[in-house]
């Protein structure tokens, strides 16, 4: 596991010296800033119909606008993890060092989760701003961030898997975008289908997931889904890395 730590450190060091990191982080904050401003304006102008709804719960669980940047930025952040090494050829030096495929994948996955958290930390300021002008349900805020973390476990794992499978970064990004996009769309089925199909869609639904957490409800079904998918994708990534030697 020491090797995983070494891989993690290099991954983060390289990420934070890349221009990509700052382009993504900046656009991300601009997008969310505008989106949060629109929400506060909306709530300031309109009498709140449902008592539980606040700009913060609207931000975390309000609409598809929350997910659009994620569906784009997550693939961009994960595409380089393994596909970048394949393109640069550095995968050859990496995989001929005395390290296991498991350590490499776990190190890279952990690095991607750190990046995920870095993405979200600045949004804490929204909660602080709200607390300056009214009361904030800190329980719901904590649950929201917990929900975001859980969502990240499988977003990043899916991105990592696509990066392992794809020959180039751009293919990895497209595959991750398509996979997350399909999962997102299936979740929307919650609102248009009936019966068992509706149940399945609700289970997958990113929107439902975040709406539930934004209200402060920690629904274990969503946790089981997030973690199962994350473990599956990371496991498949390790398997695919091992299979690479035989390809």
């Amino acid at each position: 596991m020491r090797s995983a730590w070494v891989v993690l450190k290099r991954e983060l060091a390289s990420f934070f010296v890349s221009p990509l990191a700052y382009v993504v982080l900046t656009s991300w904050l601009v997008w969310n800033g505008v989106w949060f401003w629109m929400l506060t304006e909306f709530y300031a102008r309109n009498a709140v119909s449902s008592g539980a709804s606040t700009p913060l719960s609207g931000f975390f669980g309000g609409s598809a606008l929350f997910f659009i940047p994620l569906l784009v930025f997550v693939p961009v952040l994960t595409m380089r993890l393994v596909a970048g090494e394949k393109q640069a050829g550095t995968i050859e030096t990496l995989m001929t060092a005395p390290v296991s495929e498991t350590s490499v994948i776990l190190g890279k996955y952990a690095a991607s989760m750190v990046i995920w958290c870095v993405l979200w930390v600045p949004t804490l300021i929204y909660a602080w701003i709200m607390s300056q002008h009214g009361s904030v349900d800190w329980g719901a805020v904590t649950a929201s961030y917990f929900g975001i973390f859980c969502l990240g476990t499988y977003f990043m794992a899916v991105g990592l898997l696509m990066s392992v499978l794809a020959p180039t970064q751009i293919v990895a990004a497209v595959l991750a975008f398509v996979t997350l996009g399909v999962l997102f769309t299936v979740g929307i089925g919650e609102f248009v289908l009936d019966g068992a199909a509706r149940e399945v869609c609700a289970y997958v639904s990113m929107l439902g997931h975040m709406q539930s957490f934004a209200k402060g409800v920690i629904d274990t079904r969503y946790l089981v889904f997030d973690l199962s998918l994350a473990i599956l994708a990371v496991g498949l990534s390790i398997g695919a890395m091992k299979a690479r030697r035989h390809g």
């Binding site: 070494v6 891989v7 050829g89 001929t96 060092a97 005395p98 390290v99 035989h246």
Partner: protein, 237 residues
């Protein structure tokens, strides 16, 4: 010591390496020679654990490199063809990273030593991506040396070096004679004659010769041309 027995590698249905067997004794410097596409890089990639063989055995200092790949890799320094490096890192930072990955006990000392050996100490704080090809090549060599491994596997180590750097490189490799086991692939015949104790020539994945450069009465160039083109001509006719 490197022992290879009946090594084969298939890419799909194409046989890149076919039933290859050879030994490299401890402290020996062996040249691995062959025309482009003969299977040199594929063989070296199997030795270093990057690719799994389709069949055959590899022993690295008595360790089964197919089953105990990680333990075998601990004993090898490898410089792949084209010397892939993390371009965004600084030279010293990169070597420190590699030393940590290879579980070197005293990283600072190991990095300083390999920087000196490879002749890149003056570039230690520079960013890898901004270095000339010759410097990058030597950073790759420093990386292969950082864990002070008993075995060195070098895939076309002098491509991209200027004549002075080639000479320095050859002196360095010669200085390993008797201390490290070196297997270096190349298609530069003068390189083999300058540094190698023995040469293994392969063609289309098969070994066609295993000789000391001084063995034959004819020059290595003639031997090489004969072994790697005559057969092909025969097959064609």
């Amino acid at each position: 010591m490197i022992e290879v027995e009946g090594l084969s590698r298939l890419y799909g249905s194409r046989l890149a390496v076919n039933d290859l067997s050879f030994r490299v004794e401890p402290g020996e410097i062996v040249g691995f020679l062959g025309p482009n596409g003969a299977g040199k890089s594929t063989t070296l990639r199997m030795l270093t654990g990057y690719l799994a063989p389709s069949s055959g055995e590899i022993q690295i200092d008595g360790i089964d490199a197919v089953r105990s790949s990680i333990r075998a890799r601990e004993r090898m320094g490898y410089m792949p063809e084209g010397v892939p490096l993390y371009r965004e890192m600084r030279v010293r930072e990169y070597l420190r990273h590699r030393a940590h990955l290879k579980r070197v006990p005293d990283v600072g000392e190991a990095v300083d030593r390999c920087l000196e050996l490879a002749g890149v100490a003056d570039a230690r704080t520079r960013i890898v991506g901004q270095l000339s090809k010759g410097y990058r090549q030597r950073v790759g060599l420093a990386e292969a040396l950082v864990a002070d491994p008993p075995i060195l596997i070098l895939d076309e180590p002098t491509s991209g070096l200027d004549p002075n750097q080639v000479r320095q490189f050859r002196e360095l490799v010669r200085s390993f004679g008797g201390k490290k086991t070196v297997l270096l692939s190349t298609h530069i015949l003068s390189e083999v004659e300058a540094v190698c104790d023995r040469v293994i020539i392969i063609r289309e994945g098969e070994k066609v010769a295993d000789l000391a450069p001084g063995d034959s009465e004819t020059s290595l160039e003639e031997v090489f041309a004969e072994l790697t083109t005559a057969g092909a001509a025969q097959e064609a006719s």
